[in-house]
């Protein structure tokens, strides 16, 4: 069976794309050829006056087949593929009979370029319907005419927003931008598209009025886009903004900008040629390779049950949360909003209950302000959230997530209380970043039901969930929590219990090393800048300010106790904490919070050896010392079986710790550097700074055997 089914609706041929055996429609040369043939046949058929193009899947077309992209080995191959895609859509654009795209669900990348080559576009009003060009997120740019057609349809500025950010827009926004002609309920989507197609065939113009722009918009548009000078200004500003965001690590958005500009200045055909060339060149960059690998890794995790055996997730009808603070409130929010489950919060008193509800409500209000939710939707979600000061309503909870203070005795007491208040199957999940789950489970009546669910703050934003198992955790409990986490919108990695689990553990030596540098006289801003230059979104000191210097200090002691000398935290942290220097929450940290902008609080140096006199360090040292320890510790986690795979380690570091995505994660970064090189660098530092730079045994082994963590990657 082919990928396209055509059915006549009067004089309109409705062509439905349904890639056989696949959950979503993607683009590849084979699909292109098949569509070309169908188009040709319908072109010859005189009974056909117009075409409607739609999808049989849950989504329209989600983009190019990323696996196929990986099979293109050289820049020339990439350019050639792009040229072929362009030609295909050119044929569609110049097809003598009008074609209207009927769009429901995701219409992304090549899918949107496909729709752009049609005469008209109608979209469904379902929340699932999203249109966008996410190619830059894979280190690429739209390579099938998107960089040329989009600015001509919706204007340069709006087009750049879509192309450079890669963020999709919903149907209503697409209508406002002029990206689609009309937005209708899904039930009549194809009918309306057929009407539009007939109207085009009858020689009419666009069947619905073009979107109304405010005068201000019209004036800005004329000033910026209508003349060369304004355009130059617009591009310069766009470039400045994206450099600020990308830190110069991501070439794709910049290339996209150039390509759009080329097309505007030298014409459509020149634009297409530039687009194809840029596409080919970007395709073979390391950055794109890493981003696509990461894409595959997160996609694979979405399908991963989290257990190696056949254990199935149990159904979850209700979730309870102990503690409604920042974490607990966030967990309640993603449970009610994303997982659409009722959630019962327990707090210690009415005032805390009020704060918890206010927190959840505030997050929902934010969704409304951002138009992700309407008022009635808010009420519906919020009705799922109740709060109490006792354990009433816990009896029916399938999963109880504990999000209280990091204190083993407290958590054990709560576990005992919850066990007596809930059914035998209830899962007790501890949201902890450092308390050993094994120790927690020791006191349990039903240790098999005890597990860790380490969320990251702020829960509603951070995409990672670290699920932590101890030796006795029932596999079905693991699968249940992984499934719940996915429902809450998280990418979930399962790690074995061990001090600091994975994320806190690799972060600790990295932060310690930054502190060592500080004691040796390095400048706070210089250390942070060096690691931002490596690609972290914030430097280690700013990170400590955000999570709380006391929290970092506490975790570092847990790890020191467990791993001994190599995790010895420099004494300075304790001094700072004693001074009440806790970070942002205390408005006193490495940075100042009483002034605008990021300014180091120079008074911190008074508590440090060396005082206010700072010593210049080579940037390489400021970067390498913390980063090498981070990578080395990740290898130890893999070696000890804390991690199930390098894939989990890479995704966890990128999504949980802000490890630079364009480096693909610690294991990809080591592969890129080579284990031999990494061992050499560690040895070098070990000589100067001591045992904490001792290379992980597995790393030595890999260096010795010339192995890689990902043997099949390029």
């Amino acid at each position: 069976m082919g990928s396209f089914q055509t059915e006549m609706r009067g004089e309109v041929a409705v062509v439905t794309f349904d890639l056989p055996g696949e959950p979503v429609n993607t683009l590849s040369p084979a699909v292109g050829t098949e569509f070309g043939e169908e188009l040709e046949r319908l072109g010859r058929d005189e009974a056909v006056k117009a075409l409607v193009f739609t999808s049989a899947k849950q989504d329209f077309v989600v983009g190019a087949d990323v696996k196929w992209l990986g099979s293109l080995r050289t820049a020339a191959d990439g350019e050639q593929a792009s040229r072929e895609g362009q030609h295909g859509f050119d044929r569609l654009a110049f097809f003598p009979k009008p074609v209207v795209a009927a769009i429901h669900g995701a219409c992304l990348g090549g899918g949107l370029e496909w729709a752009l080559a049609c005469r008209g576009r109608v979209a469904s009003d379902a929340p699932r319907t999203q249109l966008g060009l996410p190619e830059v997120q894979l280190g690429l740019l739209p390579g099938a005419g998107g960089t040329q057609r989009l600015p001509r349809l919706i204007g340069v500025q709006a087009a750049l927003d879509l192309i450079v950010s890669g963020n999709p827009v919903r149907a209503s926004k697409a209508r406002k931008l002029g990206l689609v002609d009309e937005v209708v309920p899904r039930s009549i989507l194809v009918d309306v598209a057929v009407e539009h197609a007939l109207a085009f065939a009858a020689g009419g113009g666009r069947p619905s009025a073009s979107p109304r722009r405010s005068t201000r918009e019209a004036v800005t548009r004329a000033a910026l886009e209508g003349n060369p000078l304004g355009r130059r200004l617009l591009f310069a500003e766009a470039r400045k903004q994206l450099l600020r965001k990308s830190g110069g690590h991501y070439p794709a958005p910049e290339r996209a900008l150039e390509v759009v500009r080329e097309g505007l200045e030298k014409g459509f055909e020149a634009g297409l040629r530039a687009e194809a060339r840029a596409f080919g060149e970007l395709l073979v960059t390391e950055v794109s390779a890493r981003l696509r690998e990461l894409f595959f890794a997160t996609t694979a995790l979405k399908k991963d049950t989290g257990v190696d055996g056949a254990a199935k997730a149990r159904p979850v009808h209700k979730v309870a949360v102990l503690g409604g603070g920042l974490m607990g409130g966030g967990i309640a929010f993603v449970t009610a909003e994303k997982a659409e489950l009722p959630v019962r919060i327990k707090e210690r008193d009415d005032a805390s209950v009020g704060r918890a509800l206010s927190h959840v409500r505030g997050l929902l209000d934010q969704r409304v302000r951002r138009r992700r939710l309407d008022r009635r939707g808010l009420e519906k979600v919020f009705a799922r959230v109740t709060a109490t000061t006792d354990l009433s309503g816990f009896h029916r909870a399938d999963v109880v997530v504990e999000a209280v203070f990091e204190d083993l005795a407290l958590k054990r007491r709560l576990l005992a209380e919850v066990e007596s208040a809930t059914g035998d199957a209830a899962i007790f999940a501890s949201n902890t970043s450092s308390i050993p789950i094994t120790r927690l489970a020791e006191g349990a009546k039903r240790p098999g039901n005890v597990i860790g669910m380490h969320y990251f703050s702020p829960v509603e934003k951070m995409p990672l969930l670290e699920v932590i198992t101890h030796a006795g955790t029932d596999p079905s409990v693991v699968a249940t929590c992984v499934e719940l986490g996915k429902g809450q919108g998280k990418t979930v990695i399962v790690v074995r219990d061990g001090p600091g689990f994975y994320t806190s553990r690799v972060l600790a030596p990295y932060l310690n090393e930054a502190a060592h540098l500080l004691i040796e006289g390095a400048d706070i801003a210089a250390v942070d800048a060096a690691l931002r230059a490596y690609g972290f979104p914030v430097g280690p000191f700013q990170l400590l300010d955000e999570v709380g210097i006391d929290v970092g200090e506490k975790v570092s002691h847990v790890l020191h106790d467990a791993f001994g000398e190599r995790m010895t935290p420099p004494a300075t942290m304790a001094v700072l904490v004693k001074d009440g220097r806790l970070g942002r929450k205390a408005k006193k940290g490495f940075y100042r919070y009483d002034v605008k902008g990021k300014e180091v609080d120079a008074s911190v140096y008074a508590s440090l050896p060396g005082g206010a006199t700072r010593v210049p360090f080579p940037e390489e040292e400021l970067r390498d010392r913390p980063v090498l320890l981070f990578l080395n510790e990740a290898v130890r986690c893999l070696e000890e079986g804390i991690l199930r795979s390098p894939r989990d380690g890479d995704v966890g570091a990128v999504l949980g710790l802000g490890f630079p995505p364009f480096r693909g994660g610690p294991f990809r970064a080591i592969d890129a550097m080579g284990a031999v090189e990494m061992v050499a660098r560690l040895e070098q530092w070990k000589e100067r700074k001591g045992i904490r730079f001792e290379p992980a045994p597995l790393l030595r082994e890999m260096a010795g055997q010339g192995k890689r963590f990902y043997p099949d990657s390029r």
């Binding site: 509800l357 009705a383 009433s392």
Partner: protein, 435 residues
Amino acid sequence: MAQRLIGLRGTTRAVVVKGLRTPFVRAGGVFGSLTSLDLGAAVVRELVERADIDPAEIDQIVFGQAIPTLLAPSIAREVGLASALPRATEAHTVSRACATSIQAFTDVASAMALGVSQVAVAGGTESMSDVPIFTSRPLSRALVKASRARTLPERVRAFAGLKPKDIVPVPPAIAEYSTGLTMGQSAEKMAKENHVSRTWQDEIALASHQRAAAAWKDGVFDAQVMHVPIPPAYTATGTTDDIVRHDSSLEALAKLKPVFDKVHGSVTAGNSSPLTDGAAALLVMREDRAKALGLQPLGALRAFAYAATDPGDQLLQGPAYAAPVALERAGMTLKDIDLVEMHEAFAAQVASNLQAFASPEFARKIGRSAPIGEVDPDRLNVHGGSIALGHPFGATGARIVMQALDALARRDKRTALCTVCAAGGLGAAIVLERV
């Protein structure tokens, strides 16, 4: 002609498994920013949480209010949806003025006796802080006319002839439509006709406050009254009834001036129930269903009766008409009753009804051979009544039911008679027994 509802015996009878209410709060108080719907949804959501049953077990919700919320006239359905009951839980709204949630309760019990319902939520809500404000009749006529007008001049002409006073908004009257008398005036009339002294009224009010205050102090209400965090800031929480006075005295009550007849009157703010915000709900199920779910019922509905009298006569005397019928249907006399819960709209009304209960003359008037009997004051409203606890019209009935069942359990007694008087000369009476 004694009629017995056979269905209220045996395994298909309705039992109350759990009751819960919000604090009852003076109108304009801590619930000032909440609507009736907010209060109703809060109490139902929490009731279901605390009952620890699968919400999908609940097949219907019957809810009501005395003064309808015009933006959500199908209040039962809205409460069901807003409290996250399954969308498939059907709903209907009831109204019987101050006996509204008694009506909701007997509705679901009747449905259970007929076998058409298994598990239900019954209750009521009222926000006197959120009453609908009307326009005057002339203005609303003009507005309707204008909305139908086709041209601008026609539209303008619709408003011709309006007087300035027609523009003033009108709050709903708590007055009888058929007689024009307010509730307070009716109570005043009853006090005079039945020769109920000011002192007796104040004594009833004092007992109400003292018993309610003692009950709060002893933790009687802790499990019946939920805490309500107040949106949108959630910095305040409604935790307790705010009308009950812990320091009332006869002297203080005696100092208050009569409100409805300033010269010869005896009905004061102190011996009347105040305008109140609050909601209450009961989880009701068939006795066999409760058993199957492993839930311990608080008590069962044994019989109920409604009655009506001429609103132009003694408006709030309804209980004295309904109670003998309910007792008869229960196969009981007042001697078989351990506790009496009588809604206190006004102390004058309570006194008048107690008089009528005991009066051979009244018995003759309603065609019965003997009076109901004297109610032992020690068995009446043992944890306080509406004068001290407040009276959110729609919620009072459910409050009385849960309070009666709780009081029976605390004293290890078996039976209770509950009565509520209502506008229009209506009266409700139910007989409860512990299972």
